[in-house]
Protein backbone atom coordinates (compact mmCIF):
# COMPACT_ATOMS: atom_id res chain seq x y z
CA UNK A 1 0.00 0.00 0.00
CA UNK A 2 2.46 2.60 -1.14
CA UNK A 3 -0.20 5.27 -0.95
CA UNK A 4 -0.91 4.77 2.74
CA UNK A 5 1.63 7.25 4.11
CA UNK A 6 0.18 9.87 1.83
CA UNK A 7 -3.25 9.32 3.31
CA UNK A 8 -2.08 9.87 6.83
CA UNK A 9 -0.06 12.90 5.87
CA UNK A 10 -3.00 14.51 4.18
CA UNK A 11 -5.22 13.91 7.19
CA UNK A 12 -2.70 15.38 9.56
CA UNK A 13 -2.17 18.42 7.38
CA UNK A 14 -5.85 19.11 7.09
CA UNK A 15 -6.35 18.73 10.80
CA UNK A 16 -3.43 20.92 11.68
CA UNK A 17 -4.53 23.80 9.57
CA UNK A 18 -8.11 23.33 10.58
CA UNK A 19 -8.26 23.02 14.30
CA UNK A 20 -4.94 24.51 15.32
CA UNK A 21 -5.88 26.29 18.50
CA UNK A 22 -7.73 23.47 20.17
CA UNK A 23 -5.03 21.04 19.13
CA UNK A 24 -1.82 22.94 19.76
CA UNK A 25 -2.69 24.34 23.16
CA UNK A 26 -2.56 21.06 25.07
CA UNK A 27 0.86 20.39 23.64
CA UNK A 28 2.11 23.79 24.61
CA UNK A 29 0.54 23.65 28.02
CA UNK A 30 3.20 21.20 29.08
CA UNK A 31 5.87 23.73 28.33
CA UNK A 32 3.97 26.58 29.88
CA UNK A 33 2.95 24.74 33.01
CA UNK A 34 5.61 26.45 35.03
CA UNK A 35 4.13 29.82 34.22
CA UNK A 36 0.32 29.30 34.11
CA UNK A 37 -1.55 28.09 37.17
CA UNK A 38 -4.15 25.51 36.43
CA UNK A 39 -6.86 23.47 38.06
CA UNK A 40 -8.45 20.35 36.57
CA UNK A 41 -12.07 19.63 37.43
CA UNK A 42 -14.02 16.42 36.88
CA UNK A 43 -17.73 17.04 37.22
CA UNK A 44 -21.19 15.91 36.14
CA UNK A 45 -22.56 17.55 33.03
CA UNK A 46 -24.78 20.62 33.31
CA UNK A 47 -23.78 21.01 36.92
CA UNK A 48 -22.27 24.47 36.82
CA UNK A 49 -23.57 27.63 35.23
CA UNK A 50 -21.75 29.09 32.21
CA UNK A 51 -20.48 32.17 34.07
CA UNK A 52 -18.69 30.68 37.04
CA UNK A 53 -15.64 29.24 35.32
CA UNK A 54 -14.80 32.41 33.37
CA UNK A 55 -15.39 34.45 36.54
CA UNK A 56 -13.01 32.20 38.46
CA UNK A 57 -10.36 32.41 35.76
CA UNK A 58 -10.61 36.16 35.73
CA UNK A 59 -10.52 36.65 39.46
CA UNK A 60 -7.70 34.27 40.26
CA UNK A 61 -5.78 33.95 37.03
CA UNK A 62 -5.98 30.18 37.34
CA UNK A 63 -6.80 28.35 34.14
CA UNK A 64 -9.55 25.75 34.37
CA UNK A 65 -9.72 22.43 32.54
CA UNK A 66 -13.22 21.03 32.83
CA UNK A 67 -13.86 17.36 32.15
CA UNK A 68 -17.11 15.44 32.48
CA UNK A 69 -18.12 12.05 33.83
CA UNK A 70 -21.48 10.35 33.82
CA UNK A 71 -21.76 8.16 36.89
CA UNK A 72 -20.20 7.59 40.29
CA UNK A 73 -19.29 4.00 39.65
CA UNK A 74 -17.45 4.85 36.46
CA UNK A 75 -15.60 7.59 38.30
CA UNK A 76 -14.59 5.21 41.05
CA UNK A 77 -13.52 2.46 38.67
CA UNK A 78 -11.34 4.92 36.82
CA UNK A 79 -9.72 6.52 39.86
CA UNK A 80 -9.12 3.25 41.66
CA UNK A 81 -5.97 2.52 39.76
CA UNK A 82 -4.54 5.98 40.33
CA UNK A 83 -5.33 9.62 39.72
CA UNK A 84 -4.73 10.48 36.06
CA UNK A 85 -4.47 14.17 36.89
CA UNK A 86 -7.69 15.52 38.39
CA UNK A 87 -7.66 18.16 41.10
CA UNK A 88 -11.29 18.48 42.12
CA UNK A 89 -13.82 15.70 41.66
CA UNK A 90 -17.56 15.68 42.46
CA UNK A 91 -18.67 12.23 43.68
CA UNK A 92 -21.85 11.52 45.66
CA UNK A 93 -21.90 10.94 49.41
CA UNK A 94 -21.81 7.15 49.59
CA UNK A 95 -19.00 7.01 47.06
CA UNK A 96 -17.10 9.68 48.98
CA UNK A 97 -17.32 7.37 51.98
CA UNK A 98 -15.95 4.54 49.87
CA UNK A 99 -13.11 6.69 48.62
CA UNK A 100 -12.24 7.72 52.17
CA UNK A 101 -12.22 4.07 53.22
CA UNK A 102 -9.93 3.34 50.30
CA UNK A 103 -7.66 6.25 51.23
CA UNK A 104 -8.11 7.85 47.84
CA UNK A 105 -8.69 11.39 49.08
CA UNK A 106 -6.47 14.13 50.41
CA UNK A 107 -7.43 15.76 53.69
CA UNK A 108 -8.58 19.33 53.12
CA UNK A 109 -7.01 22.39 54.64
CA UNK A 110 -9.97 24.29 56.05
CA UNK A 111 -7.87 27.42 56.54
CA UNK A 112 -7.68 27.74 52.80
CA UNK A 113 -11.48 27.53 52.50
CA UNK A 114 -12.80 30.43 54.60
CA UNK A 115 -16.17 30.32 52.84
CA UNK A 116 -16.93 27.08 54.67
CA UNK A 117 -18.48 29.41 57.22
CA UNK A 118 -21.34 30.00 54.78
CA UNK A 119 -22.44 26.37 54.85
CA UNK A 120 -25.37 25.34 57.01
CA UNK A 121 -24.24 23.64 60.24
CA UNK A 122 -26.49 20.73 59.39
CA UNK A 123 -24.12 19.82 56.55
CA UNK A 124 -20.84 20.33 58.35
CA UNK A 125 -20.57 17.04 60.20
CA UNK A 126 -22.10 14.29 58.07
CA UNK A 127 -21.80 10.62 58.85
CA UNK A 128 -19.97 9.86 55.65
CA UNK A 129 -17.17 12.37 56.40
CA UNK A 130 -17.06 13.53 60.03
CA UNK A 131 -15.91 17.11 60.39
CA UNK A 132 -15.64 17.48 56.64
CA UNK A 133 -12.07 16.28 56.72
CA UNK A 134 -12.05 15.31 53.05
CA UNK A 135 -15.04 16.87 51.37
CA UNK A 136 -17.06 20.03 50.95
CA UNK A 137 -20.73 19.72 50.00
CA UNK A 138 -21.66 21.03 46.57
CA UNK A 139 -25.36 20.42 46.09
CA UNK A 140 -27.80 17.98 47.59
CA UNK A 141 -31.23 16.72 46.65
CA UNK A 142 -33.89 14.10 46.84
CA UNK A 143 -35.18 11.16 44.88
CA UNK A 144 -38.88 11.17 44.15
CA UNK A 145 -41.60 10.66 41.61
CA UNK A 146 -41.87 12.74 38.50
CA UNK A 147 -45.38 12.55 37.11
CA UNK A 148 -47.77 13.91 34.53
CA UNK A 149 -50.36 15.94 36.40
CA UNK A 150 -53.23 15.40 34.00
CA UNK A 151 -53.18 11.63 34.45
CA UNK A 152 -51.61 10.96 37.82
CA UNK A 153 -51.32 12.40 41.31
CA UNK A 154 -49.15 10.09 43.41
CA UNK A 155 -48.57 10.66 47.10
CA UNK A 156 -46.93 7.40 48.10
CA UNK A 157 -44.30 5.01 46.75
CA UNK A 158 -47.19 2.58 46.42
CA UNK A 159 -48.08 4.40 43.21
CA UNK A 160 -45.30 2.50 41.48
CA UNK A 161 -44.93 -0.58 43.64
CA UNK A 162 -48.45 -1.77 44.35
CA UNK A 163 -50.94 0.46 42.55
CA UNK A 164 -51.95 -1.02 39.22
CA UNK A 165 -53.52 2.11 37.75
CA UNK A 166 -50.47 3.05 35.77
CA UNK A 167 -49.06 -0.38 35.06
CA UNK A 168 -46.85 -0.33 32.00
CA UNK A 169 -46.40 3.42 32.18
CA UNK A 170 -43.82 3.49 34.97
CA UNK A 171 -40.08 4.01 34.72
CA UNK A 172 -37.73 3.23 37.59
CA UNK A 173 -34.00 3.60 37.88
CA UNK A 174 -31.57 0.89 37.04
CA UNK A 175 -29.62 1.83 40.13
CA UNK A 176 -30.01 0.74 43.69
CA UNK A 177 -32.25 3.70 44.57
CA UNK A 178 -35.15 1.72 43.23
CA UNK A 179 -34.58 -0.92 45.85
CA UNK A 180 -33.99 1.63 48.60
CA UNK A 181 -37.26 3.40 47.79
CA UNK A 182 -38.93 0.02 48.13
CA UNK A 183 -37.49 -0.31 51.61
CA UNK A 184 -38.88 3.12 52.45
CA UNK A 185 -42.31 2.07 51.24
CA UNK A 186 -42.21 -0.96 53.51
CA UNK A 187 -41.32 1.31 56.41
CA UNK A 188 -37.72 0.18 56.80
CA UNK A 189 -34.56 2.23 56.90
CA UNK A 190 -32.71 2.42 53.61
CA UNK A 191 -29.56 1.55 55.51
CA UNK A 192 -30.91 -1.62 57.03
CA UNK A 193 -28.58 -4.58 57.25
CA UNK A 194 -31.33 -7.05 58.03
CA UNK A 195 -31.38 -9.61 55.20
CA UNK A 196 -35.08 -10.35 55.75
CA UNK A 197 -36.06 -6.74 55.23
CA UNK A 198 -33.97 -6.54 52.10
CA UNK A 199 -35.49 -9.78 50.83
CA UNK A 200 -38.97 -8.37 51.41
CA UNK A 201 -38.07 -5.38 49.29
CA UNK A 202 -36.71 -7.65 46.55
CA UNK A 203 -39.97 -9.60 46.50
CA UNK A 204 -41.96 -6.38 46.38
CA UNK A 205 -40.00 -5.23 43.37
CA UNK A 206 -40.19 -8.56 41.60
CA UNK A 207 -43.96 -8.44 41.93
CA UNK A 208 -44.07 -4.83 40.77
CA UNK A 209 -41.72 -5.52 37.86
CA UNK A 210 -44.57 -6.43 35.54
CA UNK A 211 -45.79 -2.86 35.78
CA UNK A 212 -42.47 -1.27 34.93
CA UNK A 213 -41.93 -0.17 31.40
CA UNK A 214 -38.18 -0.08 31.79
CA UNK A 215 -35.26 0.24 34.18
CA UNK A 216 -34.06 3.57 32.85
CA UNK A 217 -30.37 4.45 32.99
CA UNK A 218 -30.83 8.08 34.09
CA UNK A 219 -33.37 8.78 31.36
CA UNK A 220 -36.57 8.58 33.38
CA UNK A 221 -37.26 12.28 32.95
CA UNK A 222 -36.89 12.01 29.18
CA UNK A 223 -39.44 9.23 29.14
CA UNK A 224 -41.82 11.47 31.04
CA UNK A 225 -41.33 14.28 28.60
CA UNK A 226 -41.82 12.06 25.58
CA UNK A 227 -44.99 10.62 27.13
CA UNK A 228 -43.65 7.10 27.22
CA UNK A 229 -44.43 6.90 30.93
CA UNK A 230 -46.64 8.74 33.39
CA UNK A 231 -44.58 8.11 36.50
CA UNK A 232 -40.82 8.09 36.87
CA UNK A 233 -38.55 7.46 39.83
CA UNK A 234 -35.93 10.13 39.39
CA UNK A 235 -33.75 12.79 40.99
CA UNK A 236 -35.51 16.07 41.72
CA UNK A 237 -33.20 18.17 39.57
CA UNK A 238 -33.65 15.98 36.53
CA UNK A 239 -37.41 16.22 36.74
CA UNK A 240 -37.21 19.96 37.30
CA UNK A 241 -35.33 20.31 34.05
CA UNK A 242 -38.08 18.66 32.04
CA UNK A 243 -40.72 20.55 34.01
CA UNK A 244 -39.35 23.66 32.37
CA UNK A 245 -40.29 22.26 28.98
CA UNK A 246 -43.70 20.85 29.85
CA UNK A 247 -46.11 22.47 32.29
CA UNK A 248 -48.03 19.27 32.74
CA UNK A 249 -45.17 17.63 34.60
CA UNK A 250 -44.58 17.80 38.31
CA UNK A 251 -42.51 16.25 41.09
CA UNK A 252 -43.35 14.92 44.52
CA UNK A 253 -41.48 13.32 47.38
CA UNK A 254 -43.71 10.47 48.60
CA UNK A 255 -45.07 10.66 52.13
CA UNK A 256 -43.03 7.72 53.41
CA UNK A 257 -39.87 9.74 52.95
CA UNK A 258 -37.07 9.22 50.53
CA UNK A 259 -33.37 8.89 49.81
CA UNK A 260 -31.35 12.04 50.20
CA UNK A 261 -28.16 12.46 48.29
CA UNK A 262 -25.31 14.94 48.31
CA UNK A 263 -22.55 15.66 45.82
CA UNK A 264 -19.26 16.73 47.34
CA UNK A 265 -16.11 18.39 46.14
CA UNK A 266 -13.09 16.28 46.97
CA UNK A 267 -9.40 16.39 46.14
CA UNK A 268 -8.10 12.95 45.15
CA UNK A 269 -4.61 11.90 46.15
CA UNK A 270 -2.05 12.69 43.52
CA UNK A 271 -3.78 15.90 42.49
CA UNK A 272 -1.18 18.08 40.79
CA UNK A 273 -2.59 21.46 41.84
CA UNK A 274 -3.67 21.27 45.46
CA UNK A 275 -3.58 24.97 46.26
CA UNK A 276 -5.60 25.85 43.18
CA UNK A 277 -8.08 23.13 44.10
CA UNK A 278 -8.70 24.76 47.46
CA UNK A 279 -9.06 28.15 45.78
CA UNK A 280 -11.74 26.79 43.51
CA UNK A 281 -13.69 25.16 46.30
CA UNK A 282 -13.60 28.41 48.22
CA UNK A 283 -14.76 30.35 45.18
CA UNK A 284 -17.77 28.09 44.71
CA UNK A 285 -18.99 28.81 48.23
CA UNK A 286 -18.82 32.55 48.03
CA UNK A 287 -22.43 33.55 48.66
CA UNK A 288 -23.02 35.28 45.35
CA UNK A 289 -21.26 32.69 43.24
CA UNK A 290 -23.15 29.91 44.92
CA UNK A 291 -26.49 31.63 44.50
CA UNK A 292 -25.82 32.08 40.82
CA UNK A 293 -24.93 28.42 40.33
CA UNK A 294 -27.90 27.29 42.42
CA UNK A 295 -30.33 29.30 40.34
CA UNK A 296 -29.00 27.70 37.20
CA UNK A 297 -28.77 24.05 38.25
CA UNK A 298 -32.00 24.13 40.27
CA UNK A 299 -30.75 21.91 43.05
CA UNK A 300 -30.94 22.86 46.75
CA UNK A 301 -27.75 24.42 48.03
CA UNK A 302 -26.19 23.69 51.43
CA UNK A 303 -24.89 27.25 51.51
CA UNK A 304 -26.98 29.34 53.93
CA UNK A 305 -25.61 32.68 52.77
CA UNK A 306 -26.40 31.82 49.15
CA UNK A 307 -29.91 30.66 50.03
CA UNK A 308 -30.63 34.15 51.37
CA UNK A 309 -29.87 35.54 47.94
CA UNK A 310 -32.08 33.18 46.00
CA UNK A 311 -35.41 34.35 44.56
CA UNK A 312 -38.39 33.42 46.68
CA UNK A 313 -39.96 31.18 44.09
CA UNK A 314 -36.95 28.86 44.20
CA UNK A 315 -36.79 28.78 47.97
CA UNK A 316 -40.50 28.05 48.21
CA UNK A 317 -40.50 25.35 45.55
CA UNK A 318 -41.02 22.05 47.38
CA UNK A 319 -39.44 20.19 44.51
CA UNK A 320 -36.19 22.02 45.13
CA UNK A 321 -36.20 22.65 48.88
CA UNK A 322 -38.35 19.94 50.42
CA UNK A 323 -40.29 20.83 53.56
CA UNK A 324 -38.83 19.80 56.90
CA UNK A 325 -41.55 17.23 57.47
CA UNK A 326 -40.31 15.30 54.46
CA UNK A 327 -36.66 15.76 55.36
CA UNK A 328 -37.28 14.27 58.77
CA UNK A 329 -38.51 11.07 57.22
CA UNK A 330 -35.70 10.88 54.67
CA UNK A 331 -32.20 9.50 54.95
CA UNK A 332 -28.82 9.62 53.31
CA UNK A 333 -27.52 6.31 51.99
CA UNK A 334 -24.56 5.14 54.01
CA UNK A 335 -21.57 3.14 52.90
CA UNK A 336 -21.29 0.37 55.42
CA UNK A 337 -18.39 -1.68 54.16
CA UNK A 338 -17.99 -3.92 51.14
CA UNK A 339 -19.93 -6.87 52.50
CA UNK A 340 -23.12 -4.92 53.12
CA UNK A 341 -22.75 -3.20 49.76
CA UNK A 342 -22.34 -6.61 48.17
CA UNK A 343 -25.56 -7.81 49.79
CA UNK A 344 -27.45 -4.76 48.54
CA UNK A 345 -26.01 -5.04 45.04
CA UNK A 346 -26.81 -8.71 44.83
CA UNK A 347 -30.37 -7.89 45.82
CA UNK A 348 -30.59 -5.32 43.04
CA UNK A 349 -29.05 -7.73 40.56
CA UNK A 350 -31.72 -10.26 41.47
CA UNK A 351 -34.41 -7.70 40.83
CA UNK A 352 -32.92 -6.82 37.45
CA UNK A 353 -32.26 -10.35 36.32
CA UNK A 354 -35.19 -12.15 37.90
Amino acid sequence: MSTLPKRVFTRRRLLNTGVTAAVVLPGLSGALKAQAREVVLYNWDSYIDPETIPAFQEETGIRVRYDLFASNDELFAKLRAGNPGYDVVFPSNDWVARMIAADMLMPLDHDRIPNLANIMPRFMDPRHDPGRAHSVPYFWGTVGLGYRQSVASPTSWGAIYTDETHAGRIAVQREIDTLLAGLKYLGYSINTTDPDEIEEAVQLLLRAKAGFKTFAPDTGQDLLLSREVDLALEYNGDVLQVMQEDDDLSFVVPEEGTILWEDDMVVPRGAPHVEEAHAFIDFVHDAENNARIAEWVMYPTPNAAAKELLPQEIVDNPAIFPPDAVLDRSEFALYQGEEIQQMRNDAMTRVLAG
Binding site: M1, T3, L4, K6, R7, V8, T10, R11, R12, L14, L15, V19, A21, A22, V23, L25, P26, G27, S29, G30, A31, V40, Y42, W44, D45, S46, Y47, R65, Y66, D67, L68, F69, A70, S71, E74, A77, K78, A81, G82, P84, G85, Y86, P217, D218, Q221, D222, L225, S226, D238, Q241, V242, Q244, E245
Partner: protein, 277 residues
Protein backbone atom coordinates in the same frame (compact mmCIF):
# COMPACT_ATOMS: atom_id res chain seq x y z
CA UNK B 1 -41.07 -6.06 -22.50
CA UNK B 2 -40.41 -2.36 -22.42
CA UNK B 3 -37.62 -1.28 -20.12
CA UNK B 4 -35.47 1.73 -19.71
CA UNK B 5 -32.17 0.89 -21.31
CA UNK B 6 -31.04 -2.63 -22.18
CA UNK B 7 -32.40 -5.37 -19.91
CA UNK B 8 -29.99 -6.40 -17.14
CA UNK B 9 -27.60 -9.14 -18.13
CA UNK B 10 -27.88 -12.34 -16.09
CA UNK B 11 -25.07 -11.22 -13.83
CA UNK B 12 -25.95 -7.57 -13.76
CA UNK B 13 -27.45 -8.04 -10.34
CA UNK B 14 -27.26 -4.52 -9.12
CA UNK B 15 -29.64 -3.45 -11.81
CA UNK B 16 -32.32 -5.85 -10.73
CA UNK B 17 -35.20 -4.04 -9.15
CA UNK B 18 -35.59 -6.32 -6.16
CA UNK B 19 -31.95 -6.02 -5.21
CA UNK B 20 -32.11 -2.29 -5.58
CA UNK B 21 -35.25 -2.18 -3.49
CA UNK B 22 -33.56 -4.21 -0.76
CA UNK B 23 -30.54 -1.94 -0.87
CA UNK B 24 -32.76 1.13 -0.71
CA UNK B 25 -34.77 -0.21 2.20
CA UNK B 26 -31.62 -1.06 4.10
CA UNK B 27 -30.31 2.42 3.60
CA UNK B 28 -33.57 3.93 4.79
CA UNK B 29 -33.32 1.75 7.88
CA UNK B 30 -29.73 2.80 8.44
CA UNK B 31 -30.20 6.47 7.79
CA UNK B 32 -33.54 7.22 9.41
CA UNK B 33 -32.02 7.74 12.86
CA UNK B 34 -29.16 9.70 11.31
CA UNK B 35 -31.62 11.97 9.55
CA UNK B 36 -33.43 12.51 12.84
CA UNK B 37 -30.11 13.15 14.54
CA UNK B 38 -29.17 15.81 12.04
CA UNK B 39 -32.65 17.30 12.10
CA UNK B 40 -32.67 17.53 15.86
CA UNK B 41 -29.39 19.39 15.86
CA UNK B 42 -31.49 22.35 14.82
CA UNK B 43 -34.05 21.84 17.57
CA UNK B 44 -34.73 24.75 19.86
CA UNK B 45 -35.06 22.69 23.01
CA UNK B 46 -32.63 22.06 25.83
CA UNK B 47 -33.60 18.45 26.42
CA UNK B 48 -34.11 17.67 22.75
CA UNK B 49 -36.85 15.11 23.09
CA UNK B 50 -39.70 16.89 21.35
CA UNK B 51 -39.35 19.27 18.45
CA UNK B 52 -39.78 22.83 19.64
CA UNK B 53 -38.52 25.00 16.81
CA UNK B 54 -35.64 25.72 14.49
CA UNK B 55 -32.39 27.31 15.60
CA UNK B 56 -28.71 27.37 14.79
CA UNK B 57 -27.78 28.30 18.36
CA UNK B 58 -26.45 24.91 19.21
CA UNK B 59 -24.06 24.86 16.29
CA UNK B 60 -22.69 28.12 17.60
CA UNK B 61 -22.49 26.64 21.07
CA UNK B 62 -20.67 23.59 19.77
CA UNK B 63 -18.23 25.69 17.79
CA UNK B 64 -17.43 27.67 20.90
CA UNK B 65 -17.08 24.66 23.09
CA UNK B 66 -13.31 24.34 23.16
CA UNK B 67 -13.23 21.05 24.96
CA UNK B 68 -15.69 19.58 22.47
CA UNK B 69 -13.46 20.66 19.60
CA UNK B 70 -10.47 19.20 21.35
CA UNK B 71 -12.28 15.92 21.89
CA UNK B 72 -13.20 15.99 18.22
CA UNK B 73 -9.70 16.36 16.91
CA UNK B 74 -8.37 13.82 19.38
CA UNK B 75 -10.87 11.25 18.24
CA UNK B 76 -10.10 11.81 14.58
CA UNK B 77 -6.36 11.54 15.15
CA UNK B 78 -6.74 8.42 17.26
CA UNK B 79 -8.98 6.84 14.65
CA UNK B 80 -6.57 7.66 11.85
CA UNK B 81 -3.54 6.27 13.66
CA UNK B 82 -5.41 3.24 14.88
CA UNK B 83 -6.78 2.44 11.44
CA UNK B 84 -3.42 2.68 9.73
CA UNK B 85 -1.61 0.53 12.28
CA UNK B 86 -4.46 -1.98 12.48
CA UNK B 87 -4.58 -2.45 8.73
CA UNK B 88 -0.85 -3.12 8.64
CA UNK B 89 -0.85 -5.53 11.58
CA UNK B 90 -4.06 -7.25 10.54
CA UNK B 91 -3.00 -7.60 6.93
CA UNK B 92 0.37 -9.08 7.85
CA UNK B 93 -1.21 -11.48 10.29
CA UNK B 94 -3.72 -12.63 7.70
CA UNK B 95 -0.88 -13.31 5.29
CA UNK B 96 1.05 -15.27 7.88
CA UNK B 97 -1.91 -17.44 8.74
CA UNK B 98 -2.84 -17.93 5.12
CA UNK B 99 0.55 -18.87 3.89
CA UNK B 100 2.58 -20.59 6.55
CA UNK B 101 2.43 -23.78 8.53
CA UNK B 102 4.04 -23.49 11.92
CA UNK B 103 3.85 -25.13 15.30
CA UNK B 104 1.00 -23.87 17.46
CA UNK B 105 -0.85 -22.37 14.54
CA UNK B 106 -4.40 -22.96 15.81
CA UNK B 107 -3.51 -21.45 19.17
CA UNK B 108 -1.98 -18.35 17.62
CA UNK B 109 -4.98 -17.96 15.36
CA UNK B 110 -7.46 -18.34 18.19
CA UNK B 111 -5.49 -16.02 20.47
CA UNK B 112 -5.52 -13.31 17.85
CA UNK B 113 -9.28 -13.57 17.69
CA UNK B 114 -9.75 -13.14 21.42
CA UNK B 115 -10.05 -9.34 21.29
CA UNK B 116 -13.19 -9.79 19.22
CA UNK B 117 -14.67 -11.93 21.92
CA UNK B 118 -13.69 -10.26 25.17
CA UNK B 119 -16.33 -8.09 26.88
CA UNK B 120 -15.29 -4.51 26.36
CA UNK B 121 -15.49 -3.54 29.98
CA UNK B 122 -13.15 -6.35 30.91
CA UNK B 123 -10.61 -5.14 28.39
CA UNK B 124 -11.05 -1.53 29.49
CA UNK B 125 -10.37 -2.36 33.09
CA UNK B 126 -7.48 -4.63 32.05
CA UNK B 127 -5.81 -1.79 30.17
CA UNK B 128 -6.47 0.61 33.04
CA UNK B 129 -4.74 -1.68 35.49
CA UNK B 130 -1.97 -2.52 33.03
CA UNK B 131 -1.03 1.07 32.27
CA UNK B 132 -1.12 1.89 35.96
CA UNK B 133 1.06 -1.07 36.93
CA UNK B 134 3.54 -0.51 34.14
CA UNK B 135 3.72 3.17 34.99
CA UNK B 136 2.91 4.36 31.51
CA UNK B 137 4.09 7.98 31.48
CA UNK B 138 1.44 10.59 32.03
CA UNK B 139 1.41 14.20 30.93
CA UNK B 140 3.25 13.53 27.70
CA UNK B 141 3.01 16.21 25.06
CA UNK B 142 0.37 15.79 22.42
CA UNK B 143 0.15 13.54 20.38
CA UNK B 144 2.16 11.15 22.50
CA UNK B 145 -0.42 11.57 25.23
CA UNK B 146 -2.81 9.65 23.00
CA UNK B 147 -0.42 6.71 22.81
CA UNK B 148 -2.12 4.51 25.36
CA UNK B 149 -5.53 5.07 23.81
CA UNK B 150 -4.17 4.27 20.36
CA UNK B 151 -2.43 1.17 21.70
CA UNK B 152 -5.71 -0.07 23.11
CA UNK B 153 -7.66 0.73 19.97
CA UNK B 154 -5.19 -1.09 17.74
CA UNK B 155 -5.27 -4.09 20.04
CA UNK B 156 -9.00 -4.57 19.58
CA UNK B 157 -9.14 -3.48 15.93
CA UNK B 158 -6.47 -5.43 14.11
CA UNK B 159 -8.10 -8.84 14.75
CA UNK B 160 -11.19 -7.60 12.94
CA UNK B 161 -9.05 -6.52 10.00
CA UNK B 162 -7.28 -9.89 10.03
CA UNK B 163 -10.55 -11.78 9.91
CA UNK B 164 -11.83 -9.76 6.96
CA UNK B 165 -8.56 -10.03 5.03
CA UNK B 166 -8.36 -13.75 5.62
CA UNK B 167 -11.85 -14.20 4.24
CA UNK B 168 -10.62 -12.43 1.18
CA UNK B 169 -7.39 -14.42 0.90
CA UNK B 170 -9.28 -17.68 1.17
CA UNK B 171 -10.18 -17.29 -2.46
CA UNK B 172 -6.76 -16.41 -3.71
CA UNK B 173 -5.38 -18.58 -6.44
CA UNK B 174 -1.77 -19.30 -5.56
CA UNK B 175 -1.15 -20.29 -9.12
CA UNK B 176 -0.97 -16.59 -9.91
CA UNK B 177 1.83 -16.11 -7.41
CA UNK B 178 3.68 -19.10 -8.78
CA UNK B 179 3.27 -17.89 -12.31
CA UNK B 180 4.71 -14.55 -11.33
CA UNK B 181 7.70 -16.19 -9.72
CA UNK B 182 8.19 -18.48 -12.70
CA UNK B 183 8.32 -15.43 -14.89
CA UNK B 184 11.27 -14.19 -12.88
CA UNK B 185 9.79 -11.74 -10.41
CA UNK B 186 11.33 -11.56 -6.93
CA UNK B 187 9.33 -12.33 -3.79
CA UNK B 188 8.84 -8.70 -3.04
CA UNK B 189 7.73 -7.91 -6.59
CA UNK B 190 5.32 -10.81 -6.55
CA UNK B 191 3.91 -9.58 -3.31
CA UNK B 192 3.50 -6.02 -4.48
CA UNK B 193 2.10 -6.74 -7.90
CA UNK B 194 0.07 -9.90 -7.44
CA UNK B 195 -0.82 -10.56 -3.83
CA UNK B 196 -1.29 -7.05 -2.55
CA UNK B 197 -3.68 -5.85 -5.24
CA UNK B 198 -5.73 -8.94 -4.64
CA UNK B 199 -5.86 -8.19 -0.94
CA UNK B 200 -6.91 -4.61 -1.46
CA UNK B 201 -10.69 -4.92 -1.13
CA UNK B 202 -10.13 -6.86 2.06
CA UNK B 203 -7.74 -4.25 3.40
CA UNK B 204 -10.13 -1.45 2.56
CA UNK B 205 -13.07 -3.23 4.11
CA UNK B 206 -10.94 -4.01 7.16
CA UNK B 207 -9.75 -0.43 7.36
CA UNK B 208 -13.30 0.90 7.29
CA UNK B 209 -14.18 -1.50 10.05
CA UNK B 210 -11.20 -0.45 12.14
CA UNK B 211 -12.09 3.19 11.69
CA UNK B 212 -15.65 2.55 12.78
CA UNK B 213 -14.51 0.66 15.85
CA UNK B 214 -12.18 3.42 16.88
CA UNK B 215 -14.44 6.41 16.28
CA UNK B 216 -17.27 4.97 18.26
CA UNK B 217 -15.44 3.28 21.10
CA UNK B 218 -16.51 4.43 24.50
CA UNK B 219 -15.68 1.84 27.12
CA UNK B 220 -12.00 1.24 26.41
CA UNK B 221 -11.34 4.88 25.69
CA UNK B 222 -12.98 5.88 28.95
CA UNK B 223 -10.60 3.76 30.95
CA UNK B 224 -7.45 4.76 29.09
CA UNK B 225 -8.02 8.50 28.77
CA UNK B 226 -7.19 11.25 31.21
CA UNK B 227 -7.96 14.93 31.66
CA UNK B 228 -5.54 15.89 28.93
CA UNK B 229 -6.89 13.41 26.42
CA UNK B 230 -10.53 14.17 25.89
CA UNK B 231 -12.18 12.05 23.25
CA UNK B 232 -15.44 12.54 21.48
CA UNK B 233 -17.44 9.44 22.50
CA UNK B 234 -16.51 9.86 26.14
CA UNK B 235 -17.37 13.53 26.09
CA UNK B 236 -20.67 12.93 24.33
CA UNK B 237 -21.51 10.10 26.68
CA UNK B 238 -21.07 12.27 29.73
CA UNK B 239 -23.04 15.10 28.15
CA UNK B 240 -25.86 12.93 26.93
CA UNK B 241 -26.47 11.28 30.28
CA UNK B 242 -27.74 14.58 31.56
CA UNK B 243 -29.73 15.76 28.66
CA UNK B 244 -28.95 15.20 25.01
CA UNK B 245 -28.92 18.85 24.12
CA UNK B 246 -28.88 19.64 20.41
CA UNK B 247 -25.30 20.75 20.90
CA UNK B 248 -24.25 17.14 20.96
CA UNK B 249 -26.21 16.42 17.81
CA UNK B 250 -24.64 19.41 16.15
CA UNK B 251 -21.16 18.23 17.07
CA UNK B 252 -21.94 14.74 15.80
CA UNK B 253 -23.24 16.09 12.52
CA UNK B 254 -20.12 18.14 12.02
CA UNK B 255 -17.90 15.18 12.93
CA UNK B 256 -19.59 13.01 10.39
CA UNK B 257 -19.30 15.73 7.75
CA UNK B 258 -15.59 16.12 8.43
CA UNK B 259 -15.00 12.39 8.38
CA UNK B 260 -16.81 12.03 5.07
CA UNK B 261 -14.74 14.82 3.60
CA UNK B 262 -11.47 13.38 4.83
CA UNK B 263 -12.29 9.87 3.66
CA UNK B 264 -13.38 11.03 0.24
CA UNK B 265 -10.12 12.94 -0.10
CA UNK B 266 -8.17 9.90 1.04
CA UNK B 267 -9.92 7.63 -1.39
CA UNK B 268 -9.36 10.03 -4.25
CA UNK B 269 -5.67 10.17 -3.46
CA UNK B 270 -5.53 6.43 -3.26
CA UNK B 271 -7.39 5.35 -6.37
CA UNK B 272 -4.82 4.23 -8.90
CA UNK B 273 -5.75 3.85 -12.57
CA UNK B 274 -8.06 0.85 -12.62
CA UNK B 275 -6.13 -1.26 -15.11
CA UNK B 276 -7.20 -4.83 -14.47
CA UNK B 277 -7.07 -4.62 -10.67
Amino acid sequence: MLRRGPPPAPLDYTRRWWLRAWLALTFVFLYAPIAILVLFSFNDSRRNIVWQGFTLDYYVKAANNVSLLEAFSNSLVIAALSTVISVVLGGLLALALYRFRFPGRPAVEAANQLPIVVPEICMGVALLVFFAEVGWPRGLPWPLSLSNIVAGHVAFSFPFVAVVVRARLAGFDRAQEEASRDLGASEWQTFRRVTLPYMRPGLIAGGLLAMTLSLDDFVITFFTSGPDTLTFPVKVYSMVRFGATPEVNAASTVLIAITIALTVVAMRLQAPPKAGA
